[in-house]
Amino acid sequence: MSVAQTPDWEPKIVAFCCNWCAYAGADLAGLNRLQYPANVRVIRVPCSGRINPQFVLRAFQRGADGVLVSG
């Protein structure tokens, strides 16, 4: 049985967010008290152009199940 089939399993998601848009959007979600699952961890970057493919690979390497690049 793979992990994904265990009932209480949930993915670990790393999100890279551009400071000027996606990160600001995540702040706005907070201001509006929008609720979303707690299994996402946001890493702030100054621009989506800053996101090196190496960062994404490292996240998977360290056990992340999903990576969100948003900007």
Partner: protein, 194 residues
């Protein structure tokens, strides 16, 4: 060896009602390089900032992490705080445990605290690798160009020039004045436009 201080903000009840701030502070105290971790009601308030300054002096901190609201809001505030206590303002990081944790996981307190801990751990990891930065300066040519010499351009040019700076007022037409000078009287006082 680095001496990092971590400061967890309650933001009144905004953060503290969802996140177990004491637990976050206690856990942060064990992160590599962290020599001091505490929590306080409002870190951005005067007493809160004073608490940070005092801890920097007493604990001989050389780097600071504040876990509170979004850095888009208070990063400049806390950079000034640490600078006033003698630390380079770029040896500072924030963990956003309000907008991106407490507020969005208000109904999931069990997982909000571990998430806050993760966010603080990331900020500590980052501040560990911060280096002091100095703002560079660029020279300023004290001469302004105003493109378009209608009423807006003329007014801006006159105000700048009255301060003593040189202005070039440019227009593509053979005369200045723009649309305004075509007008007859102007409302509501019916005075002349030229």
């Amino acid at each position: 060896m680095k001496r990092i201080g971590v400061f967890i903000c309650h933001c009144g009840t905004n953060i503290a009602s969802v996140v177990d701030v004491k637990k976050v502070a206690a856990t942060a105290g064990s992160f590599p390089g962290v020599v001091y971790a505490t929590d306080y009601q409002y870190m951005c308030s005067d007493p809160g900032q004073e608490l940070i300054r005092k801890a920097i002096k007493e604990q001989r901190l050389d780097r600071v992490v504040v876990a509170s609201c979004s850095p888009r809001l208070h990063e400049p505030t806390f950079r000034k705080t640490v600078e006033s206590a003698g630390i380079n303002p770029y040896l500072f990081e924030m963990a956003n445990i309000r907008e991106q944790c407490a507020w969005v996981h208000a109904r999931d307190k069990d997982r909000a605290t571990p998430k806050a801990i993760d966010l603080v751990r990331a900020a500590v990891a980052k501040v560990n690798r911060d280096g002091p930065l100095q703002a560079a300066t660029i020279p300023i040519t004290k001469r302004a160009l105003v493109i378009g010499a209608g009423i807006a351009g003329m007014q801006a040019a006159l105000d700048i020039a009255d301060t003593g700076y040189e202005v070039v007022l440019l227009d593509r037409e053979p005369t200045i004045g723009g649309n305004m000078v075509k007008l007859d009287k102007t409302f509501p006082t019916l005075d002349c436009s030229a």
